[in-house]
Amino acid sequence: MTTLSVSPRKPWRPKVGRLWPEILGAFFTAFSTLAIVAVTPLKGRLGFSLTLIAMAVITSATVSWIRRDRKAALNSVSTVFVYVAAAFVIIPLASLLFEIVSKGAVGFSFGIFTKDMSLTSADSPLSEGGLLHAVIGTLYVVLLATLISTPVGFLASLYIVEVRGRFAGVVRFFVQAMSGVPSIVAGLFIYAVWMIGLGNSYNVVAGAGALAILMIPTVARTAEEVLKLIPNDLREAGLALGATQWRTVAMIILPAAKSGLVTAIILGIARVAGETAPLLLTLGGADAINLNPFEGNSSALPFYVWKNYSLGNPESIQRAWLGVFVLMIMVFIFFSLARYFGRAKGANR
């Protein structure tokens, strides 16, 4: 028994024989760029990339104009620019990650998580001292900020989606606008209330309050998106069984949206974990571990980076990069968790 199998054909695909102008064009672009850079005073990576872009535009436009018409030429030019734009997005990020790893991994060891900076001076080598105080400070601040902002954020999203009160539209609009509040303003506000108004001194709670203000809109907006994805059938089923709205929300809606709500919290944490400006105004900074969130100056990873950058000597600059490295690892962990939970039920976005 013989089976007849037909391999699928794609008649819209250009045949290899028709691709030769493109291939020739690519070769011409590459060689002419090399030639121009070699002959003219254009030098370095900048000269090379600018020439490459210019030659790609000229070559592709000429080829399409000869083969078709002016519109095709314009299409080719725009294609080159769109690809260049995409490259411009990738290049800074690649450079950023490369620099963080190459400069931050230098002093990375287990020891930095066991020591603080209380007995280490700024210009002593990286093997001395550590950033345990900063890690603990960041964990404290972020945990407290999460405790403050999660209830408010969830209640705001419930108000917009479930209760749909008279001001739902207004609240939604203001929560959107709130995500644009500059972080320094949040810090100033907490300073005005907590320090000037209530007469407290620097402590972790103040920092957490400032971060919570920045975290609420992220939590509320993500939670709102998640709750909107819960099918209306579930709400109607709950009400049809005679449940009150409170029981419907608490027993049906929230459990159904659980993984999405976890995503909302984690995205909020990822948003504020690296915030620096509000912490500069509220934490006070410290070189030793402070385990009491209600009293005394404290540090945090962004604060540690900032302080070491400001000190300016080579060792502390290295410490700043080390802090950035640890901070980025933390942010990426939160970020991956958010993606994982978001994907678990497809409730995110």
């Binding site: 900048l46 519109k71 314009l74 299409n75 725009s78 294609t79 734009a85 995409a86 411009f88 997005v89 990020l93 450079s95 950023l96 620099e99 963080i100 408010v152 969830f154 209640l155 705001a156 108000y159 009160g165 001001f167 207004v170 609240v171 609009f173 203001f174 606008a177 709130m178 644009g180 509040v181 500059p182 972080s183 320094i184 303003v185 100033l188 506000f189 005005a192 209330v193 000037i196 108004g197 203000i213 609420i216 509320a220 009150t244 709205q245 409170w246 029981r247 929300v249 690296g274 620096t276 400006a277 105004l281 962004p302 980076v305 900032w306 950058y309 600059i317 990069w321 901070l327 942010v331």
Partner: protein, 327 residues
């Protein structure tokens, strides 16, 4: 007959049908409403406390607070009166915000077009993740990278621009100081606003009706003519809104700008010169050694920044919401 009467006597009273919510629901709605309105309350409190603390400065300086150029503490021994004005800083903020939009928005929109209409699937997915990752990078990281990595390159670019385009006033250089200029701050901010502008543009482009796109192709449009004729008319509002949202971010950015911008209490049009301004950076800069009076002035400056960014965000969100509904 009597049997049914007997039965009707033991029938339970019919349930009262009412639309009045139970107590549990009333409590629930009360709490949720309070939580929802507390976001409004927080914004109102921010405005109130900043105005309350900055009131004296607003009263003593008047409109000069927005237009004045100096930031001088009082020195009683020399008979010097304090004078606070954020005019130069406001101008500088607008300059670097505008530069960020000029540099960043075309790249972000191009990248969004790439993701929506050019990229094959295997490149699209990782790049969407890459843009999300970029949005999660803290600003202090951008600040460090901008200062140590980008600035040496950017200074070289600035020298080239000055050399070949120096006859244009904004590229003029009164002194050869290229580091920490508004140009460099604009570049760093542009990179920082690319993720938000790109993701909003992508969302907006995704709402272009597919039948119009196919119709354009069927009529013989190239990819670019299709984008020009279909995608841009549908999405232009959202793109503008996204750009304004990016502008709002750029105006309020503090730490990244602080590291790559030299603050100067002067209005200069030369963007390559190492002298610029930013309200947010100035607040951090002055906060450390501020006395009680100067602190009030900083609160007032924070209030101005708050209002400016809030207005920009309001307009941006209004535009985006309208475009999103239309699509």
């Amino acid at each position: 007959m009597s049997a049914t009467q007997q039965a009707s006597k033991v029938l339970p009273e019919s349930r009262k049908i009412t639309t009045v919510p139970r107590i549990s629901d009333r409590v629930f709605r009360g709490i949720v409403t309070a939580g929802g309105l507390s976001t409004l309350a927080i914004l109102a409190l921010i405005a109130f406390f900043l105005v309350f603390n900055g009131f004296e400065v607003f009263r003593s300086e008047g409109l000069r607070f927005l237009t004045g150029f100096d930031w001088v503490d009082a020195i009683p021994e020399e008979g010097l009166v304090a004078s606070y004005g954020i005019g130069a800083m406001l101008y500088g903020t607008l300059v670097i915000g505008t530069l960020a939009v000029i540099f960043g928005v075309p790249v972000a929109v191009g990248a969004a077009l790439f993701l929506s209409y050019y990229a094959p699937e295997w490149i699209r997915r990782p790049m969407v993740v890459v843009i999300d990752v970029m949005a999660a990078i803290p600003s202090v990281v951008f600040g460090l990278w901008g200062y140590f990595v980008l600035m040496p390159h950017a200074e070289y670019w600035a020298k080239l621009i000055h050399k070949y385009l120096g006859f244009i006033p904004i590229f003029d250089m009164p002194a050869p100081a290229y580091s920490r200029s508004p140009f460099i701050a604009g570049l760093v901010l542009a990179i920082m606003i690319i993720p938000i502008v790109a993701s909003i543009s992508r969302e907006v482009f995704a709402q272009t009706p597919p039948d119009r796109i196919q119709a354009a192709y069927a009529l013989g449009a190239t990819r670019w003519t299709m984008i020009k004729a279909v995608v841009f008319p549908y999405g232009i509002g959202g793109v503008i809104g996204g750009a304004m949202l990016g502008l709002g971010r750029a105006l309020g950015e503090t730490v990244a700008v602080y590291t790559v911008l030299n603050l100067a209490y002067d209005i200069r049009i030369e963007i390559l010169l190492s002298a610029g301004g930013s309200v947010a950076s100035m607040i951090v800069n002055k906060f450390g050694e501020a006395d009680a009076v100067e602190l009030r002035a900083l609160m007032a400056a924070g209030f101005v920044l708050f209002i400016v960014t809030l207005i920009v965000n309001f307009i941006a969100n209004a535009i985006i919401n309208r475009t999103a509904r239309k699509g």
